[in-house]
């Protein structure tokens, strides 16, 4: 168990292609797979490896995140010694910098007795055994170990993600950007293992040189001057960096193999429970190939969809290929195809919403759809 490791989760992902879901929340607290939020996966990966001390850097829009994470109890992080810390203020919201945030909370690093750090973002969804990565890192004597995955560029899933150029010893000798041209690339998962001492050294040197941006950019820019080592992860990775990738990754959960890998029995994924009753399926319902959370009342038709908690689907409503967030109400005769409904959306009787199967239609939180709208969203 990684008793000597500190976890730092930096919620500084670029959410410019997810604006309709991140207007009121950081990327890390976007609801996903029915009952989870994006950050649950990285938090669970950390605690499943025995990490008991986690700092979350949440520069902006952190209300929903703090509401979700709370004291960290669902992840067993409500502790007297170590436990969970959230750093969520930023002097200057225009420049999101995890380095500045760490600098202004150096106390956290000095106080912690841990000597090693796992520094990660939240948007790469996977079920990874950090114990293995740590072992690899410690045996390598590198300054930093970065986790990567070999992917072929179908569906532009990992577009814009950093790519690692490796030598034959898995040393990182250069870092590029995935623009979707090459067929096989090493996508960085933005997960770094390093010693706390070295992290502090990096922060201070950033400040001295006046480049206070993101820690990951600092590492990628300086691979030549440091000993950076790469660890290949071979499991499933879902990268959440745009509405279409969010949609695709969500739908991956309807694949039984991916489902059982991500929600493995050995390394469960924890989340905040909200005491929903069981879901009721009524005599009139037709449900097929769907992932459904507790607390729903289903009287209509649901196919190839992901349904969050407390959703009501009335008789003769049709929900297909869609993702419904919690507490939505879909009234009778409504038809939804390729749609994402954010929380508390009400779809009136007989309204029709149809999106594109690669680029779904997103209805923002609390919106109400009254009239019949027929929308075809074309990708430009």
């Amino acid at each position: 168990m990684l008793t000597n490791y500190l976890g730092i989760v930096s919620l500084t992902e670029n959410d410019s292609k997810l604006k309709s879901l991140t207007a009121t929340r950081p990327l890390g607290s976007i609801p996903i797979f029915g009952r989870y939020r994006v950050i649950d996966f990285v938090l669970s990966n950390l605690v499943n490896a025995g990490v008991t001390n986690v700092g979350i850097l949440a520069p902006t829009k952190s209300r929903s995140l703090i509401d979700h994470v709370g004291t960290g109890k669902p992840w067993n992080l409500n502790r007297k010694v170590d436990g969970l810390y959230i750093f969520n203020y930023s002097y200057d919201p225009s420049s999101i910098s995890d380095i500045k945030l760490l600098k202004s909370n150096m106390e956290f690093l000095f106080r912690s007795k841990k000597e090693m750090v796992i520094f990660t973002l939240s948007h790469m969804i996977c079920n990874i055994d950090f114990k293995e990565v740590a072992k690899y890192h410690e045996e390598s004597n590198a300054d930093i170990t970065v986790v990567y995955k070999k992917v072929s560029n179908e569906d532009d899933l990992f577009l814009d993600a950093p790519t690692l150029i490796l030598d034959q010893d898995s040393k990182v000798i250069g870092v590029g950007k995935n623009i979707g041209r090459r067929t096989l690339v090493n996508i960085s998962l933005d997960i770094f293992l390093l010693s706390k001492e070295f992290l502090i050294e990096c922060i201070l040197s950033c400040l001295e040189n006046g480049n206070c941006g993101l820690f990951r950019d600092f590492v990628y820019k300086n691979v030549q001057n440091m000993n950076v080592n790469a660890y290949e992860f071979k499991g499933y990775v879902g990268c959440i960096n745009s509405i279409s990738s969010y949609f695709k990754v969500s739908m991956d959960m309807l694949n039984v193999d991916i489902q059982s890998e991500l929600f493995s029995k050995e390394r469960p994924i924890y989340t905040k429970s909200n005491d929903s009753p069981p879901t009721r399926y009524f005599s009139t319902c037709e449900v097929e190939n769907s992932f459904i959370s507790n607390g729903c009342l289903i009287k209509g038709k649901v196919k190839n969809s992901i349904i969050s908690r407390g959703v009501v689907i009335e008789k003769d409503a049709v929900v297909e290929n869609s993702i419904i967030f919690s507490k939505c109400i879909i009234k009778s005769g409504a038809v939804l195809k390729n749609v994402i409904l954010d929380k508390n959306v009400v779809i009136d009787s007989n309204a029709t919403l149809i999106g594109h199967n690669k680029n779904p239609l997103v209805m923002e939180k609390q919106s109400k759809v009254y009239l019949s709208v027929l929308k075809e969203v074309k990708r430009l």
Binding site: F33, P277, F282, F291, I292, S293, L297, I307
Partner: protein, 391 residues
């Protein structure tokens, strides 16, 4: 003791064996038996306390308490992990004059008199840990105060032909009880005691002490204490309850209560016909386990059922209640049944009018079939690899 004074505290009697539930309570106290998909029976009473703003709750345990103790923990799930007060597990104990098992419901309270005294309550609410209902005890307390009662007993109208299974109360116009008959052969009416009492604590103490000295007593509230109080001229009132209530005493009534949850044609003016689990203002809490959402696979057929997280359904599920992490294989049929957690219904198996206890497995193509009034039960962790058909 600062901050411990309370107007009312609750004591939940959760030590009974519930032997008529047979396989379900072989290794498990009745209050800890799974119910309604994600709950255990005691969740209803504990949640009622939470929802009635009662924050001191003693739980008296005795028979097979391990699962129950684990489930309750420090009471976090019900918001009963308070710095002052909260939930207290009260098992039988020894002291300098020896020690005893709890001999009856009244004796269990008598043995914990010191605990109750810590909170110097005006009123003591005595509850059972094995009933399925939702109720706001504050309303009953209000009734108790208005009537200036010494004891208030919650009661419910039962079908007259079943009345001889209950403690029956004969009341006057103003709900005052003039006669109490424990399981009468020829009941005079159908007003049954729900085993929920509010006592004036000072008054009850006297009777408990007297009863403890009485060697012929069974030390039971219904059998001994209530009749003695009536005889002693105390003011007993019946509090009429109109919601859903079920004492799941037998395998059949346990199965029925689960089936009641699936009722789709409850008239709005008949709250007693089914339990409302979907009232956000009056949630039923339980300690949750981390499972992914339920997966209804391609080709599955689910109708009129209640299903929880962690389940994986490939076959047909109709008119059934499923607990956590249940697998129903391809072409399997689950009809009119209650399936408890972590059980496995393999491909092509048929389960009808049955209860499958937790961790059990019904092997490929096997048939487990009971009939209403004679429910088939597959015991905990059993691998059912042959047919089980009750004629």
């Amino acid at each position: 003791m600062n901050g411990l004074k309370r107007e009312i505290i609750a004591m939940i009697l959760a030590g009974g064996q519930g032997s008529r539930l047979k396989e379900l309570t072989k290794a498990n106290a009745k209050p800890a038996v799974e119910f309604g998909g994600k709950y255990r029976i005691i969740d209803f009473t504990l949640s009622n306390c939470t929802n009635s703003s009662i924050d001191v709750v003693g739980v008296l345990t005795q028979y097979q308490p391990f699962t129950l103790h684990c489930h309750i923990g420090i009471g976090t799930a019900w918001d009963l992990d308070r710095t002052k007060g909260g939930v207290y597990i009260l098992p039988p104990h020894t002291n300098d004059s020896g020690g005893n098992w709890y001999k009856g419901t009244a004796d269990a309270i008598y043995q914990n008199m010191n605990f109750v005294e810590l909170f110097s309550p005006e009123y003591l609410l005595v509850l059972s840990g094995d009933h399925i209902y939702t109720m706001n005890y504050q309303e009953m307390l209000k009734f108790h105060k208005e009537k200036k009662a010494d004891v208030t007993i919650a009661c419910i109208e039962v079908p007259i032909q079943e009345a001889s299974r209950f403690g029956i109360m004969n009341t006057k116009e103003d709900n005052r009880i003039y006669e109490f008959e424990e399981k009468p052969k020829h009941p005079k009416n159908n007003l049954a005691s729900m085993g929920i009492y509010i006592f004036n604590w000072e008054r009850l103490k006297r009777y408990l002490k007297e009863d403890a000295k009485d060697e012929n007593s069974d030390h039971d509230f219904g059998k001994n204490i209530i009749p003695k109080m009536l005889k002693g001229g105390e003011k007993l009132f019946a509090y009429p309850f109109r919601g859903y209530w079920k004492d799941v005493g037998t395998v059949e009534s346990y199965w029925e209560a689960n089936m009641d949850l699936l009722n789709e044609s409850c008239p709005i003016d008949a709250p007693s016909c089914s339990l409302d689990l979907y009232n956000d203002e009056f949630k039923v809490y339980t300690s949750s386990i981390a499972y992914p959402p339920q997966y209804i696979a391609p080709g599955a057929n689910v109708k009129k059922s209640m299903i929880v997280e962690g389940c994986c359904i490939w076959g047909e599920v109709c008119n059934s209640v499923l607990s956590y992490n249940v697998y129903v294989g391809k072409n399997a049929k689950v009809i009119n049944s209650v399936i408890l957690s972590n059980s496995h219904i393999e491909d092509g198996a048929v389960v009808e009018n049955a209860i499958i206890c937790s961790g059990a497995k019904v092997s490929k193509g096997c048939i487990v079939r009971g009939k209403p009034g004679k429910i088939a039960v597959v015991p905990e962790n059993k691998n059912q690899s042959s047919n089980l058909i009750l004629e």
